[in-house]
């Protein structure tokens, strides 16, 4: 069983959802970004997603774009992403990478998988790669044992849900709403329905992302999902912080609030 699966199973055994937190590598700097992720783990985040900065992030809203643009201006490289994973994985928390496909292909699919696994990475989330085009990726993740997480969406047909879940390992990422990343006032019923439809076709844990920004929403999502994924809200804290130290404190505070939320939202 992978470290990712173990952590998800442990949370399930506690009767709660896992908390998954995202930050892009390289913001505000490579070192400070890794330190912020470490602080998130210490404050209650179970699993970390390290974003690989990309010039054309078409699944991301303005908050994540703003941080990623800064990371790219500072020439954050794929090697920096791997070193961030190495640093964060030292906490013991499963550490995933979230990457658009072109940087992986450009780096070399097998090389990317090998280096990530070597750094202690647990898996990869691919927002613009579906199993349809993933032949080489399936081979590389099988060879390295990395978990591979594809997304399902409210628009996915039952056949697509089954097909996608069959190719996932670790968990299935349920995109709660039709849209891009970013905080929303309400995550809504669509996520609940999507999780139920996904559970009907797979035994894998189903984690929900897109739109969760506070403890109350985390509790709501935690009442029906195996994991709650929060990205833009953490990034917003960093963007608004006057210093790297203040940013660390701010993301840790949010992590604490969300960690309390996923425990409050335990399934009845």
């Amino acid at each position: 069983m992978s470290t990712l699966s173990e952590v998800l199973a442990a949370a399930r055994a506690e009767g709660r959802a896992a908390l998954i937190g995202y930050l892009p590598a390289g913001y505000p700097t490579v070192e400070d970004g890794a330190a912020a992720m470490t602080a998130m783990v210490e404050a209650g985040v179970d699993i970390i997603e390290v974003g690989l900065p990309y010039s054309d992030p078409l699944m991301d809203g303005p908050t994540i774009q703003a941080a990623v643009e800064v990371a790219l201006q500072r020439r954050t490289s794929t090697e920096d992403v791997v070193s961030t994973v190495r640093e964060v994985a030292k906490t013991g928390a499963p550490t995933l990478v979230m990457s658009y496909w072109n940087p992986v292909q450009r780096y070399g699919v097998r090389r990317f998988a090998d280096e990530l696994a070597g750094a202690g990475g647990a898996g990869v989330i691919t927002p613009d790669l579906t199993p349809d085009e993933a032949g080489e990726w399936l081979g590389a993740t099988d060879a390295t044992g990395l978990d591979r997480i594809f997304l399902v969406a409210p628009s996915s047909t039952e056949a697509r849900l089954r097909y996608t879940a069959d190719h996932c390992r670790g968990f299935v990422y349920a995109a709660s709403t039709m849209g891009v990343t970013g905080a929303r006032a309400s995550v809504g019923d669509a996520a609940d329905r999507l999780v139920a439809r996904t559970r009907a076709v797979t035994d894998l844990p189903v984690c929900v992302g897109l739109g969760v920004s506070d403890g109350a929403q985390a509790a709501e999502v935690a009442s029906f999902a195996d994991g709650v994924i929060v990205g833009s809200a953490f990034v917003r804290r960093l963007l608004d912080a006057p210093s790297a130290a203040a940013g660390r404190d701010a993301v840790a505070q949010l992590a604490g609030e969300l960690a309390e939320g996923v425990r409050r939202g335990r399934r009845a």
């Binding site: 349809d132 085009e133 997304l151 039709m178």
Partner: protein
């Protein structure tokens, strides 16, 4: 030739690299497109619009005086510049706008660089009573203020994109984000043969009329097929449209002319096939301009319509198989050909199309006297008059700025009444 395959692959290129949320919409679009291709009523309605609204068939014009500069070859111009809205773009836009209606959607979104595709989309949306939003890089909205005004006059909402490099590629990203959010009611009316399947296939088929007409027109005029076909390539829609009818004619050479900007060796260009490498951008595997990490590199060209760091996947396939030849044309070469066509034929071409003209001059010299070179004159140059005027110092920057400011700031009722 049966490319692409059923999942949109042209050899190693094409396919779908998109968020899962868009897969259902792309499947729906594929089904609607295939149904429309076989639907006589749909085809008749589209053909009717192309003739009564767009003005098709467009003629071919033998450019006799221009040809003297092409080594004595006969240069024939396919006059897509004479289409309603000023370029070939309207062919595809009308087809997709009709499909939007067939799918029961009420809103179209589009990306635009120079504004030609945005204007064409706004036009079709007005005609078919669709809501229309056009995404345009903020930098382009400033460079092409007149086309922003045209779109707004036609009832479209123009949204300046302030993300990333604020140009065409970022406008495509923003349109994709809108689409994934509003896909129930909205069709993304993509303007070129790039993007995920079925766009490269569908847009090719809607532009195939260019090649089908031109092939017969050349046969009627000369009694034979042309020796070569030349077209400019940004995303590559006009080139695929004219190539499509000749791909199976092995003796007809196909030439795509990319925007060489300041020269490919300077790094400031948009010559994706000449100076780029394979990768994934905007939903398909093709060639693109990218750095060693896979980040997209900004392109440069005097021609806003060619200023794009990607290219349609079928061009990547034609490039790798050698069926078509792609060459860069610098800004200077293109503008020299632009001036030559103005002075020898009385036709002001779009600067995009001037790249094809410049390439044709070389191809003509290589092929020798009496070889027939068919050039796709994809658009007219009205939109480029201020760029060309600056390039050739016909009027000064200050004069252009003052004139533009006066046009924008002066209340219409206060302007003088001459002109029409």
């Amino acid at each position: 030739m049966s490319t692409p395959d059923s999942t949109g692959h042209f050899g190693a290129f094409g396919g779908r690299f998109v968020p899962e949320a868009l897969v259902a919409a792309l499947d729906e679009l594929t089904v609607a497109f295939e149904k429309a291709q076989a639907d006589k009523a749909f085809q008749a309605e589209l053909a009717g619009l192309l003739s009564s609204y767009t003005g098709r068939p467009t003629p071919i014009t033998e450019a006799k005086r221009f040809s003297r500069h092409a080594g004595g070859a006969r240069v024939l111009l396919k006059r897509e510049d004479l289409n309603h809205t000023g370029s070939h773009k309207i062919n595809n836009v009308l087809g997709q706008a009709l499909l939007t209606r067939e799918m029961g959607k009420t809103r179209v979104i589009a990306e635009t660089g120079a504004g030609q595709h945005g204007v064409a989309t706004a036009t079709a949306a007005a005609l078919l009573d669709l809501d229309c939003v056009v995404y345009m890089g903020e930098e382009d909205t400033q460079r092409q203020a007149l086309n922003v005004a045209r779109m707004r006059l036609l009832g479209a909402e123009v949204i300046p994109v302030t993300q990333g490099s604020r140009t065409l590629k970022d406008a495509i990203n923003e349109a994709m984000r809108d689409w994934v959010t509003n896909v129930d009611t909205t069709h993304y009316l993509l303007g070129t043969v790039a993007g995920p399947h079925p766009f490269p296939l569908m847009v090719r088929e809607f532009h195939r009329v260019i090649g089908d007409e031109a092939r017969q027109q050349v046969l009627d005029l000369t009694g034979a097929l042309p020796a070569a076909v030349a077209a400019c390539v940004g995303g590559g829609s006009n080139a695929i449209g004219i190539f499509a009818a000749f791909i199976d004619d092995a003796d007809v050479q196909l030439f795509g002319f990319e925007a060489g900007g300041d020269g490919v060796d300077t790094g400031r260009h948009a010559a994706t096939l000449t100076g780029g490498s394979p990768g994934v951008l905007h939903g398909a595997r093709s060639y693109l301009l990218q750095d060693e990490m896979g980040q997209t590199i900004a392109s440069h060209s005097i021609s806003a319509g060619l200023d794009y760091p990607g290219v349609g996947p079928e061009h990547a396939y034609l490039h790798e198989t050698g069926r078509a030849t792609y060459r860069p044309i610098t800004d200077t070469q293109a503008m020299d050909a632009f001036a030559l066509l103005c002075r020898t034929e009385g036709i002001i071409p779009a600067i995009e199309s001037a790249h094809a003209l410049a390439g044709a001059l070389d191809v003509g010299k290589e092929l020798g006297p009496d070889a027939v070179v068919l050039v796709n004159l994809s658009g007219r140059g009205d939109k480029d008059v201020d760029t060309a005027a600056k390039w050739f110092n016909v009027v000064s920057d200050d004069e252009i700025v003052a004139s533009a400011r006066a046009t924008v700031e002066e209340p219409p009722q206060d302007s003088s009444g001459e002109g029409w």
